[in-house]
Structure formats: C-alpha cells, structure tokens
Symmetry: D2
Subunit: 168 residues, 4 copies
C-alpha cells in the first residue's frame, strides 16, 4: 500500500480528505479473498505528492521482498511514473499497480473491482510491471492516464487521439 485515492477518508470536522489507515484488509475480507496475501503499508501519500525518493523506497521493497508476485495500490495521478521506475529496474517479478478513482469509503468506488483485477493479473501474467485499471491491463512502458477523462489508455492511442484532435 502506498496511499492514493483508494485509502482516503472524509474528515467530518473540517470537510477535507485525509488518510487514516489502509482499507485493504477490509476489502480482501469483503471479496472473500482466500489467497495468501502479506499486506504492507509503505506509505500513505497522495500520488501528486510522491517524490522520487518515495519511488526508490517502493522499488527497494519490491526488490527485497521474498514474494515474486506483488500488487501495489497507488494514487492514479502518477501511477505511470512509479510503473516506469519499477519497469526500468527489470526485476524478475510480476508487479501490478492499481488504484481507484473514488475512495473505497465513498460507496461508489471502483477500488474493489480493480483489486480483484490486480490480484488475478499478479497470478497469471509473466514477469514484468503492469498497471490494472478500467478492467484492462497495460505494460509499464505503454500506459498513460488521460487527465480529461480519468481513463487509462495506451500511449500510442493517446498520441493518435491528440493528433486527430489537432487535425481539426
């Protein structure tokens, strides 16, 4: 766990969004998940505030962990940057990053759906670094969050679409 929208909560005293604790154990229970999962919270930060040093910490933990199959929950805004940091390290592991567009606690979150996706992708995909969002999965070097729609897409598509828009 690294934080992100996934784990944000609403502070009813001042009306802001904040991190209290990860909801992952609760979500695994809700999903009746019977995989052996070891949950570790590395940090609880908004991904817009995640630094290069934070990304090095994530890389180091992935590298040293005894597990060969890892899911990382992460804010969506800079998920592609962390994916790149991990992908370039070329670890002999299957690493899947996922997140949520709406906090799990807010009742209409995509978090549980994405978590189901990411946990099965970690079981079936070969070594490499992937992003699991929108029911799809992407390789670390071909993924981009479209800031206008909030959707993840291939870089090629993103460029092609931008190009088409320019042409008009």
């Amino acid at each position: 766990m690294t934080g992100g929208t996934f784990d944000k909560e609403y502070n009813e005293i001042n009306g802001s969004l904040f991190f209290k604790d990860t909801h992952l154990p609760e979500m695994l229970k809700l999903g009746r998940c019977k995989l052996e999962v070891d949950v570790r919270t590395l940090m609880l930060v908004d991904s817009l505030e995640m630094t290069d040093a934070d990304r090095q910490i994530i890389l180091e933990h992935c590298s040293k962990a005894p597990e060969e199959r890892i899911v990382i929950t992460h804010g969506t805004d800079t998920m592609e940057l962390t994916a790149k940091t991990l992908g370039q390290a070329n670890l002999p592991k299957t690493i899947v990053l996922t997140g949520a567009m709406v906090p799990y606690k807010f009742g209409s979150s995509d978090g549980l759906f994405n978590l189901g996706s990411a946990l099965t992708l970690a079981q079936t995909l070969p070594s490499g670094v992937y992003v699991a969002m929108n029911g799809r999965y992407f390789k670390w070097n071909n993924v981009h969050k479209n800031k206008n729609t909030g959707e993840f897409e291939e870089i090629r598509n993103a460029h092609a679409k931008a190009q088409r828009r320019k042409d008009f």
Copy 2:
C-alpha cells in the same frame, strides 16, 4: 448472465429474495470498466434450480457466440456442474464462470471483486473453462464448493481435508 445470488434483490412487500434484472451494466460502470463487453442475459435462475436443459442452453450460446473470451455469472451452488458441462465440450475459447456469496445489492457483496477477477482472467488465460472465486481461479475439472465454509477449493484439497478429518 444466468442469475444466481449475484443478481438477487429483496422484495420489501413479502420479505423474500427474487430476481428483477441483472446488475451487470451498473457494476461495469461502477468499476469504470472500459473493455468492450457485450452483455446478454440468458436466464435469471437460482443455480439450485438450474436444469440440464439450462446448461445445454448456456453451452449452445457459448459455442455460437462470435466472442472467444466469455465471462458467465452464475449461482455458486452448482457452478461446478455448469463448468463441467462447458469444459467437456472443449470449445476453443476462454470461458470464466464467477458469482457472488452475497447479492450485489446488499452492500457487502463480493460480486464487484469477483467480476474484476473474472474479466481480467478472461483476457489472460489460455483456452479452457475456469471458475473465478475467492480471488483465485480453478480449472473446471478441479474445483469444488465447500458447502460448510462457502469457499471454493481444489478437489484434491477437498478430499485430503475430508480424509484428515476422518482420520481423527
């Protein structure tokens, strides 16, 4: 869609559980799913009341569908029987059955998690028939629902556990 707990609702007039319509489109929207999915409701039945004729209808639809990757939502009680019917037909397609222990509408359902699992498994697994439950996946000829715990497990494990219990 074939029905099952997944799509049950509460009838507030007489206090019973019933089927009104599938919740799949709503769930795909909640999961911000951007896959191209063609949703078809074949039937809405409790899987304990599903007949061999119903299973033949499901097989026929899987066989004739132009798609090579198919997810089937199904009641959990006889999911292994439908998986067997489909598995023995040996279609050149990836077919993933999934369901839910608690109706989607009841707020603490595993349905969204399982749907995320099943949709990604349909994209990554080779041809064959599988069951996706509890964050895991099983081949059609090695899956069994434990009626006591409500969990899905491999047949070998189920036998081994029953054996161990007898030994004491």
Copy 3:
C-alpha cells in the same frame, strides 16, 4: 429492540435471512446521535412469529422501565398488534414503534430514516403509543399496514379506499 426486518442479515452459506445481533448501536453512531439512549434487546424475532406472550413481555418491560420516553424497533407485519397491546395498557409514557421495510444491512434501507423520526417523536409527542413509518406518525388505534403497498395508513383511509374500490 425486538427484531424485525430492521435487524435481519443475509446468511451467505445457505442464502436465508437471519438475526445475528441488533444494529442499533451502529445506527446511532452513524446518525451522530448524542441523546442519552439505553439500548435493550428484548428479543430478536420476525414479527409474524411474535406471540401474545412476546407482546406481554414488551408491555412489562415498557411498564417497569424507569424511562418515560421509549422507542421500540419491531417487525412491520404485526406492529399494529403490539401498538394495540401497549396502547390499551394506557401507560403514562410516550412510546414510539418503528421498523424497516428493508434490512439495515442491505444498503437501501429506510431504517436510519425511521429511527431518526422515532427518536424525535419520542421527545416531542405527549404520552401515548404511536407508530412512526413513512415519515409520518400514527396513533396506536388508528394505524394499519397496507399489505399490498407496504405502506402504513390510517384505518379510516384504509376503509375508505377499500370502499371506493368496491364501489367500482
């Protein structure tokens, strides 16, 4: 607390509805309720199975309780019978019965709304026995659950409506 739909839960092993425990403390917390409330569970039964002996137990507890303002959660199907038993006893207390059409745990329940109603009615109404449902309140001797619509209504209206229906 006496049970009723209010406190029913879904048994995911056998698909039935059952009582585990009252959700009242959780609901009071959700409502950020700061009233001094003493919660007592007298029984957890489906109101269709409530006997005259059960109603006598409820009456006895209302009579002996030191509180002068009491809210009773109750199944909706026989709420009018318990209201009658209590009303005829003519206790010098304000007693408000309420319930829910859908279990609190099922996500689309009217329970929290009805609880808010009942707790404020207990504070503002004079001595007597009342039913609080559908955002309205009724005196014990003028309330009836319409089994077709699931709504509570005055007896006079119920008769008038039935009469009008006959006239056609």
Copy 4:
C-alpha cells in the same frame, strides 16, 4: 435545499468535492416517505460561503411559501446564523433546519437520520425556528456548533463547558 455537506459529491477527475444536484428526492424515496413534500432548491452553496444576501433569500422564500411547515437542508458551519435570521423574523410557521456531517453519497452519512428527524419535528413542534442535529433539536436562539467535536449543543452548555475548562 440550500446545499451544504448534505449534497456534496466527489469529483473523480480532480479529487475535489462539489455540488451537482440535490439528493433529497432520492433520500425521500429511500426513507419510503409518504408525506406530501414540495422540494425546492434555492441554492447549492457551502455554508461557509453563504452571504447575508443568501440568508435574505431563504427568509423571503420561507415567508412567501404557502406551507406552514418547512424543512431547510443547510451546511452545518453557519446553520446557527441562518436559524437566527429566520428566528428573528418571527414567522407564524414551524421551520426546522438540518444538515449532515458527511455527504449523503459517501455511504456513512448522518443525512438520512437527520432528515427523518427534521421531517417529524416539522410535524410536531409549534411555530418557531429549530435546528435538528445529533438526534436532538434546539431553539434558534440556543444552539451552537462546537467546531472541535462537530456536535451541536445549547449555548448555555457551551459556555458552561468552556468556563469549567478555564477553571482548571
């Protein structure tokens, strides 16, 4: 309706909270409310940004409305100011202000509970202006939101508590 936390939603593109539309009709339906209610949205503002001009608009609408019993949903931060504006006008009507600590859409809101309270208070209290929060009700000239706890309390109590704290 005037806005407030009650009606805020989460913008999943930029992670901020915003108003889209009032959720009142949906909440009345969830509460199976059968009262005749005429819903009017006067504004959708954060109560910290509500101006004196806004309060005059609310007063004017209360004054001109044909109804004698009115519920106003309002942000909690300045609810006591609007209550004062309305209370000093001394209209021959029962007016109940209520709100929520957590947006209705966020799943753990007190909004439905408070709405149930406010609608029944509007039916039972004599002419005057009241605030309904925390399962309690307060007269307009004796209510105060404690910014530290988020709870509403009588002014006398608030002073007494502050005094006691100073004494130590």
